[in-house]
């Protein structure tokens, strides 16, 4: 039987988390293949619109990962991002969108293991939630009747 596989979009900051993903790959650390990666210059570059747009486009989960506090290549990008994400998370949960759909992590360039572990954790959570329905734009809009 084919188990349902979630589609997850990960926005990874160029300086830490993307390098962390790279290290996980080079080190041949296994992690679930459900993630598509978008490399961004900084977690601070991730506009909440990107996250909402990903959900609308049918991703079952979204992960944003950046440098650990204090490590941001641009000094404060991840601090600013942290505030934005806290607000987005609270708003979506309030509306009844499952909290596990949108997740955040700090993964440094040296944390290949952690990257694999985060991806595993996010994938498990999203699998548990099942296919996304809320905020998803369905393939076919209502046809013209009448």
């Amino acid at each position: 039987m084919n188990e349902w596989q979630p589609k997850i979009l990960a926005f990874l900051c160029n300086w830490c988390s993307y390098a962390g993903a790279d290290l996980a790959g080079v080190s041949r650390i296994q992690y679930p293949p459900n993630v598509r990666v978008v490399r961004v210059p900084c977690s601070g570059r991730v506009n909440p619109i990107f996250i909402l747009k990903s959900l609308e486009n049918g991703f079952d989960g979204v992960l944003v990962s950046g440098c650990h506090p204090g490590d941001c290549h641009y000094i404060s990008g991840n601090y600013i991002a942290r505030r934005k994400f806290a607000v987005l998370k609270a708003a979506l949960e309030f509306m009844g969108v499952e909290p596990g759909r949108v997740q955040f992590s700090w993964v440094s360039a040296g944390e290949g293991e952690k990257f694999a572990q985060v991806i595993g954790q996010v994938t498990d959570t999203v699998k548990g939630l099942g296919p996304a329905k809320r905020l998803v734009k369905t393939a076919e809009a209502p046809g013209v009747a009448g």
């Binding site: 619109i49 601090y79 505030r83 806290a86 499952e98 992590s105 809320r134 734009k137």
Partner: protein
């Protein structure tokens, strides 16, 4: 509704400002259609000051009108604006965001007992029922006596809503979105929605579809709430502007609560404070981050 004593004071204050050439225009309220509506008035001559009213029908935020009035004035000229507590907070937030200089505007503060929900003729707006700031934080002239600061739990409705399960919460929001016709009255009535070009009007990229179906409508409201996060002063102008009774002030209030609890920030109180989402604290809580 009869012009009360404070209304006479208001007219007198407007006349004086115009007579002394302190301002080129006074932006205030005049009677709209019927007894329960008000409309923006741009008073340029003392003789027209008698059009000014202030009562429970004055639910429009005049801040967007002030913005237009300032643009229409010759350079250097000032405008006066009639401001309730929430409107005053919006003006303070403008100053905090570098959108307005304190000296460009004469704030005519009015003591506000709350304004009516235009869809229910005798009930106060939700945002007024929970209001804690009936007086503008800054003003040049104050008409009548400032009100006692509101007490009670301003987040009671948020807490109540959170007791519902996610299915019910989602269902309630779906109903709200289903009413929306994307006329953008909420956005245009909002003092804080001052972007030259709104994200929904951008075409390349076109962020979200233009349909009035889900989730296009939901996306508009969610992103608008996020764009006003840490800036919204809960004036309720958006809900009162909505022709179809979409009630999304609750989402804004929930966001406001998060920002207050997490970052200790309340919008529209201090013109010197950096808005919550434009700054950070290294010690910000990050329990949600993996």
């Amino acid at each position: 509704m009869k012009a009360g004593g404070s209304e006479q004071e208001l007219r007198e204050a407007a006349r004086k400002l115009l007579k002394d050439k302190k301002v080129g225009v006074v932006v205030g309220y005049a009677r709209g259609t019927g007894e329960l509506r008000s409309t923006p008035a741009f008073i340029r001559h003392g003789k027209d000051a008698d059009r000014l009213i202030f009562d429970r029908t004055c639910g429009i935020s005049l801040v967007p009108h002030l913005r237009k009035a300032l643009k229409a004035l010759p350079k250097g000229a000032k405008a006066a604006v009639v401001a309730k507590g929430c409107d005053g907070r919006a003006l303070v937030q403008y100053m905090a965001e570098g959108q307005l200089k304190r000296d460009d505007v004469v704030i005519v503060g009015v003591a506000c007992d709350g304004v009516l929900d235009p869809r229910k003729s005798d009930v106060l707006s939700d945002s007024c029922l929970r209001c804690r700031y009936p007086n503008p934080p800054v003003y040049d002239v104050f008409v009548a006596e400032p009100k006692a600061v509101g007490a009670g739990d301003e987040y009671a409705a948020v807490t109540e809503f959170e007791k519902l399960g996610p299915e019910e919460r989602w269902g309630w929001f779906q109903t709200q979105f289903a009413k929306c016709i994307r006329c953008y009255a909420c956005r245009n009535a909002c003092p804080m929605c001052y972007c030259e070009e709104c994200f929904v009007d951008q075409t390349n990229p076109l962020w979200f579809g233009k349909s009035a179906e889900q989730p296009d409508t939901a996306m508009f409201h969610i992103v608008r709430a996020l764009h006003t996060a840490g800036r919204c002063v809960d004036c309720g102008a958006c809900e009162r502007a909505c022709p179809l009774g979409v009630r999304l002030g609750l989402l804004n209030k929930r966001i406001e609560k998060e920002i207050k609890e997490r970052f200790g920030y309340t919008a529209g109180l201090d013109p010197e404070a950096t808005p919550a989402l434009a700054t950070y604290d290294e010690e910000d809580k990050q329990e949600f981050i993996l």
